[in-house]
């Protein structure tokens, strides 16, 4: 036959270096890869550089030095803020983990009544704004205007304030109940997919129910618990709104509130702000690295897929205690804050008690009616800007997420690994830290003081969330589906449009709505990067809280909460029940 087996041995070296190869695929993915790299890396580099620049006493010139870091660790105010941040993060992590694990266990593994009904409510705080939660709890439990304190006074005659959230405990309380769903999400999935025979075999050896739970169940979900706890720690360390509202005005500053004062305001010092951001960022990035590299790979693969329906533990009479516990959580995290805000928003002046004869919707007119000359600009601007940013940001971020996921999973080599790495980095840095980097990078460019800089900050910080949504689907979808489209004669772009993207649709929708929610409530990036005219919804809330009064603040908070709640309903419709569980 016409085949020459004895082909002459040819010497071709393995390919090295870049080959110029202009295809649709290479051009587009390279451009996006470069943009992502620049967007992620440049602000961090700028942050590092600026943190070593020291502003002189006159505030005009800078020189290189370590003075900023000395200030962070030795300066009286900032060092105290650093310690407060550590206390809050630790306290919140403990509280959120206790809440999250116990609630997850009750919902996934016991016969607690109505648990299917309670599950979505347990997750609501995940979607709401913790800043708004802090405002609500301020009105519920601050010494003077706290509704609970005043009710205690009028009903039980308790004359001293029963609760006081205007301190570190208050911050721990509010962040703890708001971040508990993060732990819950990690743990509940793990518990649900656990192979029941693991527990059954412990029971057959004679271990009791309690013993089995403690020695088998909990250790098996430990990696999930640790992952959740780390995420909570990092999120709290970067949380700005809650300490800003609850504790900072009463002398309990945190690093984030300090960064804020150094970014804007009268004694702005970006260099010192950059140094503080570096301190927060190094710690959080380290923890995220630990989570990714050490804890996540260790999660036991008890996940054997379908078919398993873990045994539910019969709690007997205790099940009503479990139910009450869960209801209490939902009350303090969801119902109580929202109801309180609603009542506050109906008063012209809030004095800590509901005055039924004076209820009015006037505040809503002030903050919502953007066509009305007497409306408050910061609030109405915020609404419009936030919807623009949420819509545009979620859309662009999802496009980036799709292309990045595509590159990670469908192309090989250095670029793919680099992007995989790049899309973890933003998760390691709190919004306020990344925003500080974006600020010092772009402050002298035309995009400063426009919506574009906010958009850039949002997308850079949050596209990894969308990317993870897409990646999990892309890993499950065979590459051969794409390849067979190429073989059928479709170009790379056509294949992307007609095969790849339609297959990813559920993930794209879910990711889009998730980002929409995140952007609609975003505060810590916005607060650093906004300027007059580019306020966002949460910045509007901040403005009202700072310069107007509690009722007006509450009105805008309620408006934001309603928008977020609508998104949650849509999210559950599109993404299905288990979309979020890790």
């Amino acid at each position: 036959m016409a085949t020459d087996t004895a082909a002459p041995q040819i010497d071709v070296a393995p390919p090295r270096g870049w080959r110029t190869w202009f295809t649709q695929e290479n051009i587009i993915t390279t451009i996006v890869g470069l943009i992502v790299a620049v967007a992620v890396i440049v602000p961090l580099i700028a942050l590092v550089i600026n943190s070593f620049l020291v502003l002189d006493d006159l505030g005009f010139d800078t020189e290189w030095g370590l003075q900023n870091y000395r200030e962070v660790f030795q300066g009286r105010v900032i060092r105290k803020a650093l310690i407060n941040t550590a206390i809050i993060s630790t306290g919140c992590t403990i509280l959120a983990t206790l809440l999250g694990v116990s609630l997850a266990w009750i919902n996934a593994r016991t016969n607690c009544p109505f648990r299917e009904k309670l599950e979505p409510f347990n997750l609501i705080p995940f979607f709401l704004s913790p800043f708004v939660g802090a405002i609500a709890w301020h009105n519920l439990a601050s010494p003077k205007v706290g509704l609970l304190n005043n009710m205690a006074k009028s009903i039980f005659g308790i004359s001293f304030p029963l609760f006081n959230v205007n301190n570190l405990w208050g911050v721990i309380w509010v962040t703890g109940i708001f971040f508990a769903p993060l732990v819950y999400l990690f743990v509940v999935g793990s518990l649900r997919r656990m192979d029941p025979s693991l527990e059954d075999s412990a029971r057959t050896t004679g271990a009791g129910l309690f013993r089995t739970t403690m020695t088998i169940t909990l250790p098996l979900v430990t990696p999930a618990i640790l992952s959740g706890a780390i995420i909570v720690f990092v999120t709290t360390a970067g949380e700005f709104g809650v300490p800003f509202k609850l504790s900072a005005p009463f002398g309990w500053e945190t690093l984030t509130t300090q960064i804020f004062t150094k970014a804007v305001g009268d004694d702005a010092n970006h260099y010192l702000g950059a140094a503080m951001s570096m301190v927060v960022g190094v710690v959080t990035a380290f923890f995220i690295w630990v989570q990714h590299r050490i804890i996540a790979p260790r999660s036991y693969t008890t996940v054997t897929g379908k078919g398993f329906r873990p045994n539910l533990i019969d709690l007997g009479g205790w099940k009503w205690l479990a139910f009450t516990y869960n209801m209490l959580y939902v009350c303090v995290a969801v119902f109580l804050p929202i109801i309180c805000l609603f009542f506050v928003s109906l008063h012209k002046i809030w004095s800590g008690r509901i005055i039924w004869s004076e209820l009015t919707f006037w505040n809503y007119q002030k903050v919502l009616f953007f066509w009305w000359p007497e409306s408050i600009q910061a609030a109405t601007n915020g609404i419009i800007n936030s919807f623009i940013l949420a819509f545009g940001g979620a859309s662009i971020a999802m496009v980036v997420a799709i292309i990045v996921s595509y590159m990670i999973h469908r192309t090989k080599g250095f670029g793919a690994r680099l992007l995989d790495f790049l899309s973890v980095i933003p998760i390691g840095f709190p919004g306020i830290v990344l925003a500080m980097g974006v600020l010092v990078t772009y402050i002298r460019t035309p995009i400063y003081a426009t919506l574009w800089i906010l958009l850039l900050g949002y997308i850079t910080r949050f596209f990894p969330y969308g990317q993870r949504n897409i990646s999990s689907i892309m890993m499950a979808v065979s590459e051969e589906l794409d390849q067979s489209s190429r073989m059928a004669g479709a170009s790379w772009l056509t294949t992307l449009r007609r095969i790849t993207i339609p297959l990813l649709k559920p993930g794209i929708f879910a990711g889009w709505i998730l980002l929409f929610v995140i952007f609609l409530r975003e505060l810590s990036i916005s607060i650093i990067l906004y300027s007059a005219g580019t306020e966002t919804l949460s910045v509007g809330v901040y403005y009202l809280s700072n310069f107007e009064n509690e009722p007006m603040t509450s009105a805008l908070s309620i408006a934001q909460t309603v928008a977020l709640l609508i998104c949650i309903v849509i999210f559950r419709k599109v993404a299905g029940k288990e979309a979020l569980t890790a």
Binding site: M1, A2, D4, I10, S478, Q483, S484, M487, G489
Partner: protein, 365 residues
């Protein structure tokens, strides 16, 4: 000679990192024929196919279809996969789950901007050939494995490609369906007369379906030939071992009788035996070689036969009706024998083994 080939691959090299997945292979296939790339897992079959499809870019070599050079690294040509007009059936079938069967099959035609009426005709025709006419409106997820297979084939051939590529298309099916689909695939290929390249690691599949088989290992070609040729005249130890069952033992060529015949000497436990054999190309006196003989060409009996004597002990004997499947221990070596003997050989008996000289081969190591 290679000008007659419809597809011609020359000196193809593909690296993954520093590994040579494909190590400078060359082959060709005349129009309308069915060629199989056969080899163990990881030998580079898929990689070769992907290079032909244009889904991988080789690091050296050229590929020509008809008179169209689709890949030539030297001339910096590498046609995009969608421009090659090649149909491909994947191992996972890759039926798009968000489209129904008709949409799947019509897709290549839509890409080519055909008129709707022609698309309908062609899709109906393709579905008829693969026997899926009744399934036209079903969603991909509702199809069984065999049906998905047929749909994938319909989609790959509906646009009348120049070449059909198959990457282990039957390996996900159960044994019975696989045997049925082998015949079916071959029938369809013959019916539409399309030049095809088929990748598999299943030698039975290759023997049944192919006009021509290329046996590969570690990125290079071990042997090329028709199914009968590959089975009856393996050229080396690897092919002989990979295809079918063979008695293989080390030896040395001690005589060359001309006309491709010769003598091989094998030894066990101090005993040397010289056997007449057919020499593989390129073997000459004094060379190290392997003796290769299929069990059906070995006989065993209690009485000594003419010719070289190999005396051993029966260590296993299974009656199969038409013959006896025995193992005969000779020194350290165990002969696999399908004995035609009417006598029942029993375990422990001393017997004489005889090899059919017309089917005793000396192959390269």
């Amino acid at each position: 000679m290679s000008d007659n080939n419809y597809l011609q691959v020359n000196h193809l090299v593909k690296y993954f990192g520093d590994d040579r997945a494909v190590d400078g292979i060359s082959f060709g296939i005349p129009e309308g024929k069915f060629l199989t790339l056969l080899g163990p897992s990881g030998c580079g079959k898929t990689t070769t196919l992907m290079c032909i499809a244009g889904l991988h870019k080789p690091d050296a070599g050229e590929i020509r279809i008809g008179s169209d050079p689709v890949t030539s690294i030297e001339k910096r040509i590498n046609t995009a996969p969608e421009k090659r007009n090649i149909g491909m059936v994947f191992q996972s079938y890759a039926i798009w789950p968000h489209m129904d069967v008709t949409q799947n099959v019509a897709y290549p035609l839509e890409i080519r901007n055909m008129a709707q009426s022609e698309i309908d005709d062609r899709v109906a025709e393709a579905l008829k050939i693969v026997g899926l006419t009744d399934m036209a409106d079903k969603n991909a997820t509702q199809l069984s494995g065999g049906q998905q297979q047929r749909a994938a084939l319909a989609r790959a051939m509906v646009f009348r490609p120049r070449l059909l590529l198959f990457d282990e298309p039957l390996s996900n099916l159960d044994l019975k369906l696989r045997e049925q689909m082998r015949v079916e695939l071959k029938r369809i290929q013959h019916e539409i007369g399309i030049t095809s390249i088929y990748v598999t690691h299943d030698q039975a599949e290759a023997l049944v379906m192919s006009d021509e088989i290329i046996v590969m290992s570690k990125g290079h070609i071990e042997q090329t030939g028709g199914p009968h040729n590959i089975y009856a005249r393996p050229v080396n130890q690897f092919v002989s071992n990979f295809i079918g069952v063979a008695n293989l033992t080390e030896g040395r060529i001690v005589g060359n009788g001309g006309g491709g015949t010769g003598t091989i000497e094998i030894s066990q436990g101090g005993e040397n035996v010289q056997l007449p054999c057919l020499l593989a190309d390129g073997l000459s006196e004094g060379d190290e070689a392997y003796l290769s003989v299929r069990p059906e060409n070995v006989d065993a009996s209690r009485e000594p036969m003419d010719g070289p004597r190999i005396e051993g002990e029966v260590i296993q004997s299974v009656f199969l009706g038409n013959c006896l499947d025995c193992r005969v221990k000779w020194g350290e070596f165990e002969w696999k024998v399908l004995a035609h003997s009417r006598e029942r050989l029993r375990v422990g008996e001393k017997v004489y083994v005889r090899l059919d000289p017309d089917h005793t081969l000396a192959v390269k190591p």
